[in-house]
Amino acid sequence: MMNSLIAVQDLIKSFVLHLQGGIRLPVVNRMNLSVRQGECLALNGPSGSGKSTLLRLLYSNYRPEGGAILVKHREEWVDVGTAESRVILDIRKRTIGYVSQFFRVIPRVPALDIVMEPLRRLGMPTEEAREKVEGMLRRLNIPGRLWGISPTTFSGGEQQRINIARCFVVRYPILLLDEPTAALDATNRQVVVELIREASDKGTAIVGVFHDEVVRSAVSTRMVDMGPQEGSV
């Protein structure tokens, strides 16, 4: 596991729908995977093949049924499937950044504060954090007049860029990207491609779902086919 930051071993995940007669939907079946520093792994496969589920398992948003999800955190391997809640919160604060397809914020809080929050949580002084964030927002072409406004009223593409800014202002050793360019125009897509490449060059281990083929081939160093899982219906 030299230079590896993620090691997934025999991972199993299915969903049991108790409200629909206890039907069981297998999604991930005995998956093995490792990701090294500087690698950008693209997950391929049709809708429903478990790409987003895998990202959520890595972020500990979903709980695995079996196997291990090892993540290098503070120089040690931690199994996020079994770690205590506060360890997972620390991993999310320092080690893993995640750009999801969802946008959830408290209404009323200005965009600038939302993007600054992860840096403030790490103890960065306000002025320094503000400077970094302003640079990132400029780079992602979020006009200054929007910085003081709550992004709940923003367009889909603007919200996605706020999500991206929030994640990329921190230098996480691991990034999980779930269709980070889905709602972006060509110009901003290119900005995000550059951000991802820069992170890779600095040794970040990245796992992502990129539907856009141009983006995928521009950023990924390896692809994994999620295909139909063994034992699925």
């Binding site: 969903f15 729908l17 108790h18 959520r56 809640s85 997972i88 959830r104 408290i106 209404p107 009323r108």
Partner: protein, 260 residues
């Protein structure tokens, strides 16, 4: 890793009966400094009973509630001498009621309501107390010139913010909240939630918050306990419980939310 080695609050098999009826049963958890724990479940699931047991108001029928006090390690709050427990409740703990009228004194001025706990801590310098009170009016976004008005002249949202200021002015280590956004209209809720979230991280408050509103815990709680018929049926990080609910009851709860 450097972790605080002692939880701030530890519930151990906390059980409360009312005659033969179960209020809450066998509830155990640790709350760590700076952590916000949400307790969700439908009406009658035992949330409020549990909160009353945790906060020193109701003695559990069995089980223990420990508090990480001073340098003495964990102390069973119901074995502390009564005056000591009362003192903690007035200083190191806060309690925010759903109905702010229960947590405020309506016959004294708004300013006196906020300053009272400082006086309980032994502050006597009037000018200092007043300055602190005015500062808290500002923090909870109440106009400073309302400081001498009676709370009866305040709106519901203002009363709730006043109650929060009254509790937080002593920088309590542990705050209990019972449906703090419950009686407020949606626009006021968002504002209060934003305010609470800011204060929680600024003061690194530890909070136990009871609510039936899953959107509230999604935005404010690190961890969740889901209660049904007095028992904890599921627990975990807030997003785990809401996005990947395992227990049939949690699945029902999550799927019953009406999307606006």
């Amino acid at each position: 890793m450097v972790w605080e080695d002692r939880p701030l609050l530890r519930a151990l098999k906390v059980t409360k009966y009312f005659g033969k009826r179960v209020g809450c049963c066998d509830v155990s958890f640790d709350l760590w400094p700076g952590e916000v724990l949400g307790i969700v479940g439908e009406s009658g699931s035992g949330k409020t009973t549990l909160l009353q047991c945790l906060s020193g108001h109701w003695v559990p029928s069995s089980g223990r509630v420990y508090y990480g006090e001073g340098t003495n390690g964990l102390a069973d709050i119901y074995e502390l001498p009564e005056p000591r427990r009362r003192y903690l409740m007035r200083t190191e703990w806060g309690f925010v009621h759903q109905n702010p009228r229960e947590g405020l004194r309506l016959r004294v001025s708004a300013g006196a309501n906020v300053g009272e706990r400082l006086m309980a801590l032994g502050f006597r310098h009037y000018g200092g107390i007043r300055a602190d009170v005015l500062n808290w009016f500002h923090r909870v976004e109440i106009d400073r010139d309302r400081v001498d008005d009676f709370p009866t002249t305040f709106s519901g949202g203002m009363l709730q913010r006043l109650q929060i200021a009254r509790n937080l002015i002593t920088k309590p280590r542990l705050t209990f909240m019972d449906e703090p956004t419950g009686g407020l209209d949606v626009s006021v809720q968002a504002r209060l939630l934003d305010l609470l979230k800011g204060l929680v991280s600024e003061l690194s408050l530890s909070v136990v918050i009871v609510t039936h509103d899953l959107a509230v815990v999604r935005l404010i709680a690190h961890r969740l306990l889901v209660m049904q018929q007095g028992k904890v049926v599921e627990s975990g990080l807030t997003d785990q419980v809401l996005d990947d609910p395992q227990h049939p009851y949690t699945q029902l709860l999550v799927s019953s939310v009406i999307q606006a």
